[in-house]
Amino acid sequence: MAAAARLFLRGIHSKCSVSGVSTVPRTSFGPRLLKLSPSCDPYTKAQRRHAAHFTFQPDLVPTQYGPTQKMNLFQSITSALDNTLSSDPTAVIFGEDVAFGGVFRCTVGLRDKYGKDRVFNTPLCEQGIVGFGIGVAVAGATAIAEIQFADYIYPAFDQIVNEAAKYRYRSGNLFDCGKLTIRAPWGCVGHGSLYHSQSPEAFFAHCPGIKVVVPRSPVQAKGLLLSCIADNNPCIFFEPKILYRAAVEQVPTEHYTITLSQAEVVEEGSDVTLIAWGTQVHVMKEVAQMAQEKLGVSCEVIDLRTILPWDVETVCKEECFLNLEAPISRVCGYDTPFPHIFEPFYIPDKWKCFEGIKKMINY
């Protein structure tokens, strides 16, 4: 139905909290101790902060890439890096604390397997790390730089935007740093507050010369990361840190790629289009289900995957803007720094998105 309303709901941030899916053992002795006192109940609704705002929904097991193995997100990243280091003799991985495995265990075992000249630590200097990575890439080696948290990428902003993105253009294709890939943990995590929760992809989204990619699951992450490494342009790969342990899927062990700049329609629908990336895709899936059950609205969910250059074709067909029955709506965090204690109020959870759909339907 051409006249069907298309609602764009773009959710940027994703809630994350340690849900039952996570396998990290945490001591619950403390809260139990508190429970002994009747006047002190840590689980009253107002204080409750431990429920996940999303439920990870794994995709079907991919069969076209060969044998698979159960992996979570950080293990799928390790697998991708392992494949790269074994197939590309020039590949090097560097960043803060990557040698022992990284603060999120993404590089566990790689140093032992491939040697300390291929997997090494850098000092605490993001600008230095990216600048150094540009140099490595320009000289012809595959450079995979890790920025410990996406929140720390700003000292390297100048290097990325002014150097990496413009290298090929300004040298007339004499040089390029296409072999550079920058990886960074991204997004909210439930307790990260100002400097461990940011989603800075918007700052890079208007910089021609680089690519920005955000996966939603382990299968997607491995394929997209391998595509980024193979791609002839400098790429920034943001990994949703809340999914590192929470997302578990059957991931192919062999090398495979997923095309960049191609959005994926995760769920078909006809009334409203919901667009998200990263963890928020799982929130949107749930919102689509809620909308179907409660409002009888059929929602299409699109995972953008590549933020820059983004898949215009899939998202808005030719002349689609002439056919919209309601204005495009954005559901995202507020215009404040990412808060510490107010995180549950800040993130665009399923209820806010659902509310957005309701408003749109009744426009």
């Binding site: 605490l124 000292p155 507050s193």
Partner: protein, 412 residues
């Protein structure tokens, strides 16, 4: 029961030195009663069996009152006579020899003698003990998930905070990185406000919105999350002091990890160029998160990193060393002799943050050496027995109860 009896009688034999063991419970009790007095003893008898304090120095002042300051309470059973001493027997001030500091581009350095008055000693001890307890409590609360987010603990490094604050005025300025709880306290924020802030409560010093890394107070600019970002800020604050001509200075702290950030060198250059009254202090706790200093820095002489800026390397585990060095640096700055870089060699007993267990095989032997030099050791009785009122220390020390204890007890 028989086993228990044997156990107890063996113990009793060892205590009393007798060879025959008790056979029955009543024999045991008789044996015990001979050793421990269960009724109120006569004062002289007990004084002979108990340990006495060392003989105080002879009283020099004629006005010294010889009246004992003790309470002899014989009302309760098993009460003890407490020995007595007068305060005039203790000197109010003492001079210590402290370690010499390594100097860079300086002819003479901080004094090698530190004077300490009784009040100062107690104040420093109280500060450091409070910080230690506060950090350990924060650790506990974090594990109970009452504090969430990030929590970077300062225990082990208390002497740095106490020493720096002792050397500067309240009107001077201070800025540091994220390991800031101690400085928040020394700059005047109460423990309650700090813990509230950690827990995200409205009563917190930043209204619960900042958390561990963003606590502020008058003339204390936090609490900064991004590594090294506070150093250019500190240089800017120093510029403001110079511009306003108020004879204040800015103490800018950073860690050994941050010492490799580019913006530090930009700040050094500006500070040296314009001779800003800024003390750059590197708290070298040997590790930037999990990476040891040697593996992250081409030069671990952080006090020389200022290149054209003079530097001092200080033992950061000794509060008097820190105080004297910062005093020296403050005098230098106030005299308009420009910035100075200091390195405080210290150690943290926890991991980088609560997510970092901090227990790695290669850290432990190293850590043991540092733990022996812990910053709270300097006021143990063996060192400064006659210089400070021990009971005053005992009232501050949280693990000892105030009250009658066998043997020695001095009451205020």
């Amino acid at each position: 029961m028989q086993n228990m009896l044997t156990l107890l009688s063996n113990a009793l034999c060892r205590i009393t030195g007798r060879t025959a063991g008790a056979q029955t419970v009543s024999e045991l009790l008789i044996g015990l009663s001979e050793y421990v007095s269960l009724t109120s003893p006569a004062a002289p008898d007990l004084a002979q069996t108990q340990r006495l304090p060392p003989k105080p120095p002879p009283v020099v002042s004629a006005r010294a009152s010889a009246a004992p300051l003790v309470s002899t309470s014989l009302a309760a059973p098993a009460a003890r006579i407490t020995a007595s001493c007068s305060f005039a027997d203790f000197t109010p001030q003492v001079t210590f020899d402290i370690k010499k500091c390594d100097l860079y581009r300086l002819e003479d350095g901080p004094s090698m003698k530190a004077e300490l008055t009784r009040e100062q000693g107690l104040q420093y001890y109280r500060t450091m003990q409070t910080v230690r307890r506060m950090e350990l409590k924060a650790d506990q609360l974090y594990k109970q998930k009452i504090i969430r987010g990030f929590c970077h603990l300062y225990d082990g490094q208390e002497a740095c905070a106490a020493g720096v604050e002792a050397a500067i005025n309240r009107s001077d300025h201070l800025i540091t990185a994220y390991r800031a709880h101690a400085y928040t306290y020394t700059r005047g924020v109460s423990v309650k406000e700090i813990l509230c802030e950690l827990m995200g409560r409205r009563g917190g010093v930043s209204k619960g919105k900042g958390g561990s890394m963003h606590m502020y107070a008058p003339h204390f600019y936090g609490g900064n999350g991004i590594v090294g970002a506070q150093v250019p800020l500190g240089a800017g604050i120093a510029l403001a002091c110079q511009y306003q001509g108020n004879n204040q200075l800015c103490v800018t702290l950073y860690g050994d990890g941050a010492a490799n950030q580019g913006q530090l060198f930009e700040a050094f250059n500006m500070a040296a160029l314009w001779k800003l009254p800024c003390i750059f202090i590197c708290e070298n706790n040997q590790y930037s998160m999990g990476t040891s200093a040697e593996r992250a820095s081409a030069s671990t002489d952080y006090y020389k990193r200022g290149d054209y800026i003079p530097g001092i390397r200080v033992d950061g585990m000794d509060v008097l060393c820190v105080r004297e060095a910062v005093k020296f640096a403050a005098d230098l700055c106030r005299a308009g002799k420009g910035p100075i870089v200091m390195e405080l060699q210290t150690y943290r007993y926890h991991g980088h943050s609560m997510s970092d267990p901090g227990v790695r095989k290669w850290m432990w032997p190293f850590g043991r050496r540092w733990r022996r030099q812990h910053s709270l050791r300097w006021l143990t009785p063996s060192h400064h027995w006659t210089t400070c009122a021990t009971t005053s220390l005992k009232t501050i020390h949280p693990w000892r109860s105030v009250g009658p204890t066998p043997g020695l007890s001095l009451s205020l």
